[in-house]
């Protein structure tokens, strides 16, 4: 089976709009949270989100949007995008440059694209309301492709003239982890030589506020306290949006092009809780099996894992359930890998979080650091026994486990290894 490597990254996130900025924020534990103006209303209890800086995508009309001058996007390309389409498009351009891909490396039958996003609730509402009010004849012909789940893959595949495999993944907060995992399969099965994996989320009022309905958003008004996975006083997640892109390539492509990969994707596993539509299993049953499957599929022992980038979103139930799963996988073996949740800094990127956090891990391999789990004052007692690190280290990891979980009890575990 061909080995698979990560060779390029791109980020538009709350903690930085390029790899360098993101790396600095991770090392120095700088969060990306701000009081979000649309939430500063009496009837909205949640106040803080992870904001995207340097972009303005509040309008329902993409031609109103502003974005950094470095990116040039034609009207015919941007007109069918959701806000997260713009973020991911910019991240995609970064990833192409970062991976040193030539034009011919992108648009060919051996190069595919998997993507994940939650669609665009803002644009769905805008176009739907307009249709009901004015009739379908007054609706934008591109309303659907800009709005529905799948908008990200439609737009990126067309914009970058992708000719290989393309597909969208929808397993809520496990979506882009699934996308990356299946992209790994696509290469290791020999079907494709290169895969782009993109995640995106609007991260605006319409994308985040609906989670208030299930009382899962942090109500903290202090941006520095809002997201604190594994802390006893955590009170919910902080939403964020953005775009993240990773380039996966086969070993032969890496050699042919003579590029230095960030790390190897060693394998992955998945399992489902079979428990509840939205609540994670109290003992993290599915997450535990996903991790075990990833280890056995990769032929890597639990003892070899020296860092876990947790899914932990700062919710009351979710963090504990993952902590229990981690204890059962590693505790029984007597090993204590370093664990942190970078969502303490970024917020929860929902569908985007999987590929974004794999990207973070890739940076750790290359630049020799592991970020601490920020904002913990009092560790939740049920997390005791785990090596949840508070401060960043300057040691590169050797083997990283990346967890992602989504609604319905979907769990994905990805294993990354130093190249």
């Amino acid at each position: 089976m061909p080995r698979v490597f990560i060779t390029g990254l791109g980020f538009i996130t709350s903690i930085g709009n390029d790899a360098k900025g993101v790396e600095g924020s991770l090392r120095e534990l700088r969060h990306g949270f701000e009081l979000y103006p649309p939430f500063q209303k009496p009837d909205i209890a949640c106040k803080v989100i992870g904001t995207i800086k340097g972009f303005s995508t509040d309008s329902t009309d993409p031609e109103d949007w502003t974005y950094p001058e470095a990116y040039e996007i034609k009207r015919e390309t941007i007109r069918s995008m959701a806000p997260h389409g713009l973020y991911a498009h910019c991240a995609f351009l970064q990833a192409i440059t970062d991976a040193k891909l030539a034009d011919g490396d992108i648009s060919n039958r051996d190069t595919g694209l998997f993507a994940a996003s939650g669609g665009s609730p803002m644009l769905t509402y805008f176009h739907h309301e307009r249709m009901l009010r004015l009739g379908p004849a007054r609706c934008s012909p591109l309303g659907i492709v800009a709005s529905i789940v799948g908008t990200l893959n439609f737009n990126l595949v067309a914009a970058f003239r992708i000719q290989g495999a393309s597909c969208g993944f929808s397993s809520a907060c496990a979506s882009s982890a699934h996308a990356l995992a299946y992209a790994f399969d696509e290469i290791s099965l020999g079907r494709q030589k290169r895969m782009f994996v993109a995640g995106g989320e609007d991260g605006n009022r319409d994308a985040i506020l609906p989670f208030a309905g299930m009382r899962t958003l942090s109500l903290q008004t202090d941006p520095a306290l809002a997201s604190r996975p594994f802390d006893a006083a955590r009170d919910g997640f902080v939403g964020t949006g953005g775009g993240a892109v990773a380039v996966l390539e086969s070993e032969s492509e890496v050699k042919r092009r003579g590029v230095t990969p960030y790390c190897e994707v060693a394998g992955w596993g998945q399992a489902s809780d079979g428990y509840n539509v939205a609540i994670s299993h109290p003992d993290g049953a599915g997450s535990r099996v996903a991790m075990e499957n990833a280890l056995s599929a990769s032929g890597i022992g639990a003892a070899a894992v020296d860092y876990v980038n947790a899914h932990a979103t700062s919710t009351l139930i979710g963090d504990v359930s993952e902590a229990r799963a981690l204890k059962s996988v590693f505790g029984e073996m007597g090993v204590r890998p370093a664990i942190s949740s970078t969502k303490a800094l970024t917020g929860h990127g929902l569908s985007m979080s999987g590929v974004m956090e794999v990207g973070f891990c890739a940076l750790m391999f290359r630049h020799g650091f592991v970020p601490g789990s920020a904002h913990i004052s009092n560790l939740d007692p049920s997390c005791e026994g785990l090596n949840i690190i508070r401060a960043s280290s300057t040691q590169a990891p050797k083997v990283v486990l990346k967890n992602s979980s989504g609604f319905g009890g979907a769990n994905v575990a990805l294993l990354l290894r130093r190249a």
Partner: protein, 324 residues
């Protein structure tokens, strides 16, 4: 006979608009809708909405099209003739066409069916189409693009004296192209060691395009057709040649009917080479007569023959023209 020259007949005609008076709220909405269009587009739209005067419509339509064309292609629209093609010349795809239509509908307060869109290929088509909608006139027949095989099969004039390689005909006029090959027999003597296309031949080419318009584009009475063998030249006025045309030049010809009343049809005509004016003729007048529609064999033939002709071989003189 229906008035087929709407562009020249506008004359500030005021139409009764069924919609309510134009309120300040409407103006604000209009400004928002047209915020990416030129100020003159907005002004024209306001004037149209206030007065119902259809003369403002072309400015609105062109302004809306311009807004959807990529900036680097907008220059084409600035000095464009009505023959500028939406897809090929302006890069407008069918989805952009929908965006244009939706904005035009919103701004001019009319509705357009999908079926009606299919035939709109040029800027002129769109202008004429919207104009007809506003004035409540029957919609024009779509522009027909005629390949050389078709031209050859309907025209009474044949190679080596046919000076059209391709043409498009709509109900408001015709456009054509002819490339001067240098093989034209008369260039051997016009002039000695200096081949220049005779101005008289260029006038002839415009006349031929007018003949094609009469046969393919002109409105007729029910059951009648214009007989191909009834059309002859009677006169021309205001002819000026501005530029010498030589082998290699591609003549872009256009004619528009000015008056048409049996047995006379008068056209204005122009020839350009690229953006340069070559010849203009203020009046070219032809005579024509009607024949029974069934007794117009050339046209019936014309529908069936292109396939045969393009198989090659069947018509050597035409083949020469195709290769031109």
């Amino acid at each position: 006979m229906a008035d087929h020259t709407q562009h020249s007949s506008g004359g500030g005609k005021v139409l009764p608009l069924a919609s309510k008076p134009f309120a300040p709220d409407d103006e604000a909405a209009l400004r928002e809708s047209l915020k990416r269009c030129s100020p003159s587009t907005f002004e024209a739209a306001v004037q149209f909405r206030k007065t119902g005067n259809a003369d403002h419509v072309p400015a609105v339509v062109i302004g809306v099209i311009e807004r959807f064309v990529e900036p680097d292609l907008r220059a084409k629209l600035k000095d464009a003739d009505d023959d500028l093609r939406l897809i090929e010349d302006l890069g407008i795809d069918s989805l952009t066409m929908m965006e244009i239509v939706i904005l035009v509908e919103e701004v001019l307060q009319l509705s357009i069916n999908n079926d009606e869109l299919r035939n709109l290929r040029t800027v002129g088509d769109v202008k004429t189409f919207i104009d007809c909608k506003i004035r409540g006139l029957p919609l024009p027949r779509p522009t027909k693009f005629l390949p050389i095989e078709h031209i050859g099969s309907v025209m009474p004039i044949q190679p080596p004296f046919l000076f059209l390689n391709e043409a498009s005909v709509s109900s408001t006029g015709a456009n054509g192209k002819y490339k001067i090959t240098g093989q034209e027999f008369f260039l051997q003597g016009h002039f000695k060691d200096n081949p220049v296309m005779p101005a008289s031949i260029m006038l002839e080419a415009l006349g031929q395009l007018a003949v094609l318009f009469l046969l393919e584009g002109a409105p007729t009475e029910p059951g009648k057709a214009i007989g191909a063998n009834t059309i002859f030249f009677t006169g021309c006025e205001g002819v000026r040649a501005h530029r010498m045309c030589k082998p290699g030049d591609i003549l872009t010809l256009s004619i528009k009917p000015k008056r048409m009343k049996m047995p006379l049809a008068t056209f204005e005509g122009a020839i350009r080479v690229g953006q340069e004016k070559a010849v203009i003729a203020e009046d070219i007048t032809l005579t024509f007569a009607y024949v029974e529609a069934a007794a117009a064999p050339a046209r019936v033939d014309g529908e069936a023959r292109p396939g045969v002709a393009s198989d090659g071989g069947a018509n050597p003189p035409l083949k020469v023209a195709i290769n031109a």
